[in-house]
């Protein structure tokens, strides 16, 4: 990275390399307070105007307590957990989530992750599998798994 240090406006960011990843490694967790503003921001920033995400009357008729966070918010939290840990040169190759409980205004959403496997695929890509749990005060709401590709030490960028 040294060769890029001279560029105007350049700054570098912490990066984890694939060789440094350990099986069983815990990712630093994160917490996100969920209030009305964030649920509304969820709809606005994703253009997902399904009424369960902004109309309390509709959400309750669906059997929900209140308007609730959408799939796309969980994607954002899961992906951030991984790239906050790995660094900005990591690329998310695969992400799976299952939504088991809804998340409402007033909840605190937290995320925890653990590396389950560091390996190369058939194409030689340097990968890590991460198991993630998103929780609220009521327990696990969204289990997720991510496969991320990380840069390797010695890579020339």
């Amino acid at each position: 990275m040294k060769q890029t240090d001279q560029r105007p406006g350049w700054r570098d960011y912490p990066q984890k390399y694939w060789q440094q990843v350990e099986d069983g490694e815990q990712l630093p967790g994160l917490e996100l307070p969920i209030d009305y503003k964030r649920i509304v921001l969820n709809a606005a920033s994703t253009w997902d105007w399904f009424p369960g995400h902004h109309n309390p009357e509709y959400a309750r008729a669906q059997g929900q307590e209140n308007i609730y966070a959408s799939t796309i918010l969980f994607h954002g939290v899961v992906d951030r957990l991984v790239t906050d840990w790995a660094g900005p040169r990591a690329f998310i190759v695969r992400r799976g989530i299952r939504m088991q409980q809804s998340v409402y205004p007033g909840d605190t959403l937290s995320a925890q992750g653990q590396v389950t496997r560091r390996y190369r695929d058939d194409a030689g890509s340097a990968l890590a599998d991460i198991e993630i749990e998103l929780r609220t005060e009521r327990g696990v709401c969204v289990p997720a798994t991510v496969t991320a590709r990380l840069p390797e030490q010695g890579d020339v960028e």
């Binding site: 959408s70 954002g76 799976g96």
Partner: protein, 186 residues
């Protein structure tokens, strides 16, 4: 059997029918659906504020140009670049989600899971196209929310150059609500 009808209550035009009619949709593919607007920095950054994601790939033009060849956008937004505008002078477009067109009795929906593969980043200025496919419709199943069917779809997302950028296998529950507040169970 009643005639299929449409509902606007969900914000999507749901098609109504029975499970036998729904099964005929398995394997069907949608037309290509081109996003109303190109991928833009405003919405990308707006979405970053949602999960408070400071990844410089989405924020630092200089760094992103060096590493990715330009600002990229969060992978979480993949499915959303093809969401239709909520009003359009030419008339609001229907959702590109083929699951809404599967005729079933349920009058509401909730997404229950996604399995997404990413092949390359989506850049500011790309215009995303999707082709959706019905992979499966489950027999009737009861959950704590109500009774209905799970619809599995495969969305293939392409950039302006026609390159596959991602594939999303989506599971959506189309159901009739029990009414009242659901009990808290797993």
């Amino acid at each position: 059997m009643k005639e299929p009808e449409n509902s606007e209550a969900t914000g999507h035009k749901l098609a109504f029918g029975d499970y036998e009619q729904a099964k005929a949709w398995i394997g069907r593919r949608s037309q290509m659906y081109v996003a109303d607007v190109p991928v833009d920095e405003s919405r990308s950054k707006y979405y970053c504020t949602l999960a408070e994601d400071g990844n410089p790939s989405y924020w630092d033009q200089t760094w992103a140009a060096m590493h990715w060849g330009g600002l990229i956008t969060p992978p979480g937004l993949l499915m959303t670049w093809v969401m239709p505008l909520q009003w359009d002078p030419a008339g609001k477009r229907e959702s590109p989600m083929l699951a809404m067109k599967v005729p079933l009795p349920g009058d509401t929906i909730i997404n229950t899971g996604t399995e997404t593969e990413f092949f390359q980043p989506v850049y500011i200025g790309d215009r995303i196209t999707v082709i959706d496919e019905i992979v499966d419709v489950s027999p009737e199943k009861s959950t704590r929310l109500g009774t209905g069917h799970f619809i599995v779809t495969d969305g293939h997302f392409y950039n302006s150059r026609g390159e596959l950028v991602g594939r999303n296998r989506n599971t959506l529950y189309r159901f009739k609500a029990r009414g009242g507040q659901a009990e808290e169970t797993s």
